[in-house]
Every structure is written in C-alpha cells, then in structure tokens.
Symmetry: C2
Subunit: 201 residues, 2 copies
DNA sequence: AAATCTCTCTAACAATCGTTAGAGAGGCCT
DNA sequence: AGGCCTCTCTAACGATTGTTAGAGAGATTT
C-alpha cells in the first residue's frame, strides 16, 4: 500500500471515530510512521485528506449503484441452484459490499458525524442512507409487482416499510459503537426474520 | 438565565454541531460574553461541561418516561373531546416534548457524534433512541391488544414496524441538518400518514 | 466596620495545532 | 557523470489549545 493510501486509511479510521477536527496531523503521521512534512507532500492540507476520502467514496458508490442496476434488470443471469428473488439478492449484495464493507461503513460513520456542519457531506449522507436505498427497493419491488408476484396497489407501502425497517437496523447495529461480529450477526438475523415474514417463501 | 446555564446552553449548541473536541473554551466564552477564567469558576474543566449536559439530559429523560407511563396506564383521564387512542397521545407527546424539544434534539445530535468514542454516551444513545421508544410502543400496543382493539398474535410485529418507521423518520428528518420548520412539517406529515394507515380510524 | 463569600477580571503558562522552508537520499533519463 | 524527479527527513514558525494564579468589585454575614 502506498504512503498516500496508508494516510487515507489511517485518517478515515481516526476521523470516523473521533471526528475530523479532533484528529491532528501528528496523530495520523505517528500512526502511519512518517513525519508531518511527508504528509504535506501527498496532500496540500488537512482538508484535502477529507475531500479525497469523500471523492473516493463517491466513485465507489457510483460503481456499486450501477452494479445493483445490472442485477435488478437481469436477475435471471445471477440465479444459482435456488432461485432467489432479486430482492434478497440485491439486499445481500448491498449488505456485504456496502453496509458491512469496512471502507463504506467507516465513511457512513464519518458522514454521520460531519453532516451537522458540512452541507456537502450532509447531502451525500442523505443520498446514500435514505434516498438511494429507497429507490433501489422501489425498483426491485415494482419489478416483482409487474411480474405478478405481488399486488400492484400495495407496492408503495411495502417499499416504505421494507426501507424503514432496513434503515432502522442499520443505525441500530451497524452505525452504533464498533462494528463487531456480534452486531453483524444480530443485524443479519433481524434482516432475515423481517424478510421471511414480508416475502413468505 | 444564570451564567452557568448560559454556558451549558451555548456549549450544547456548539458541541452538537461541531463535536465536543472541535469546540474550544474560548469559542464558548466569547459567545457567552465572559472570560475563560470565569468559566472555570463554574466548571472544573471542559469535560465537566459535557458531563453536566449528559446528567441534565438523564434526569430530563427520567421525568419524561415516568410521565409517559402515567399517560399509558390512565389514558381515560387525558381524553378530550375526541377519544384519541393512547398510541396517538403518547406519540404526539413524545414528538413535542422529546424529538422536537430543542434541548433533547440537540442532545441526540451530540450523542450521535460522540457515541463512537465514548462508551457512556453510546449506551445512553442506544437507550434513548432504540430501547426506550420500542418499550413505550410495546406497552401501549399490548394494552390495546388486551382491550381487544387488535389481534393479540400480531402485537410483536406491529410494534416492530411502528418503531422502525418512527425511528427511520427521526433520523431522516430530525437528526439531519438543521431542525427547520420544513423538516418538522415533513416529519409530522409522514408520521400522520403512517398512523392513519396502520391504525385506520 | 470588618470579614467573608460570590463572581468576574487580567495575564500568563506549557503544550499542541496546521503548516512550511530547505536539505538529503535514491532512482531514472540524457 | 551530471541533472532531474520522487519521496522523506530535520527543524522551526506563529497561532491556538486547556488551564491557573491572583487581584478586584460587590453583596452578605459577623
């Protein structure tokens, strides 16, 4: 891993736990094992580290969303031995490579902290935790409804309830204290229980 | 308002927006209009301000919870011209004097920021945003079920869905950016829509 | 009237903050 | 071999951090 990547990695870990302003350049440097002036060779100032993290997250999310669209539109391709409904496929993909993913999870924590005094981060926070997940759920469930798997008229409320349940669980288990195996397990179990009830299969 | 109260008020406003560590003693003092040494007459150090805020919130919440218990157990007393079900009464009480209350709302924001590196605050955060609200909903809906208003076997899932919906709305509208009238209105409307659908009355 | 208590001030302390100038070491191109 | 580019270092800068000693003003108690 390059020095630049190491700096970003360490900075994200510290920022997401203590907040951007509470972490000093010297904290980051001593953890990485470099002198302060070396950091300033890779970043023009402290803010530049934060901006780079946000930019990296932006492109990461774009890739992820386009991949989700792909799965949603061609669910048949991805079916394995048991024909999972695309809801479950997309959800398990979102869990593994978004909510459980170390980089994304720490970025969500960082945004949760910084959103109150940074409008750019606030918008990204709202988009990635509320707007995008809702839209993803909506696309999938609309598709299921038009395929006749569920009644058309209930779509909106099914989406709302699914989305709100997943969101609550995310805040309760994944954006609360350390992301331990125990919390991941508890989260996964509750998601499974909800899905089993909602889409009885 | 006493100097001590002014300090706590200003500190809470600043802590909840920028985080505890990012706010300096001088920031607080110049906003209050006192010198640093005066602050140290009222608080033994910076941490003491935070601890005092947490303590104030703790007793505030205790009072609030005991009042909610009172309403839940004697709903008849509080009925006005139209006989609201106690669900709605408690919920509207919780909204006005908890989620919309300036002190409580700012404390929730502060706890949201500080929970990642302060275990005491994390526990209080989990209790006041997840554990307590769930229990309150459970008490009310159990009461409605035993009164025959709704089927007993569905109680658990009705509580879960109500709680998750309310929690999601809280994070989306009340713990996101500034607490504007617009966001309050949007929150209130969505709560109303959900309740109207859930407890068709 | 003297003494005590309550509250605020001036002025300073060492430590830490973000940031920079400039030198040096190693690899690559001419 | 000489020059250039990449990366890291030493050493320091002015500003800001949390905190404290000690004096002074006003009200209250003795």
């Amino acid at each position: 891993m390059s020095t630049r990547d190491k700096i970003m990695d360490v900075a994200l870990n510290m920022f997401s736990e203590r907040g951007y302003e509470a972490v000093s350049i010297r904290d980051i440097c001593s953890e990485v094992g470099i002198k302060e002036s070396t950091l300033y060779y890779h970043f023009k100032n402290k803010k530049d580290i934060l901006d780079s993290l946000v930019e990296k997250f932006r492109t990461h999310i774009e890739d992820l969303l386009s991949h989700v669209d792909e799965i949603t539109e061609n669910p048949a391709q991805k079916k394995g031995k048991n024909a999972d409904p695309s809801v479950q496929m997309v959800d398990s993909y979102m869990i593994d490579s978004y909510l459980f993913d170390p980089f994304c999870n720490l970025m969500l924590r960082l945004m949760m902290i910084e959103q109150f005094h940074n409008e750019e981060i606030r918008e990204l926070y709202e988009k990635t935790l509320f707007t995008d997940p809702y839209e993803i759920q909506m696309n999938i469930i609309k598709r299921l409804a038009s395929a006749g798997v569920m009644p058309e008229e209930d779509v909106e409320w099914i989406v709302r309830e699914t989305h709100s349940y997943m969101t609550m669980l995310t805040f309760k288990y994944l954006l609360n204290g350390d992301l331990t195996e125990k919390r991941k397990k508890a989260y996964y179990k509750e998601v499974h229980d909800f899905m089993a009830r909602r889409f009885k299969a």
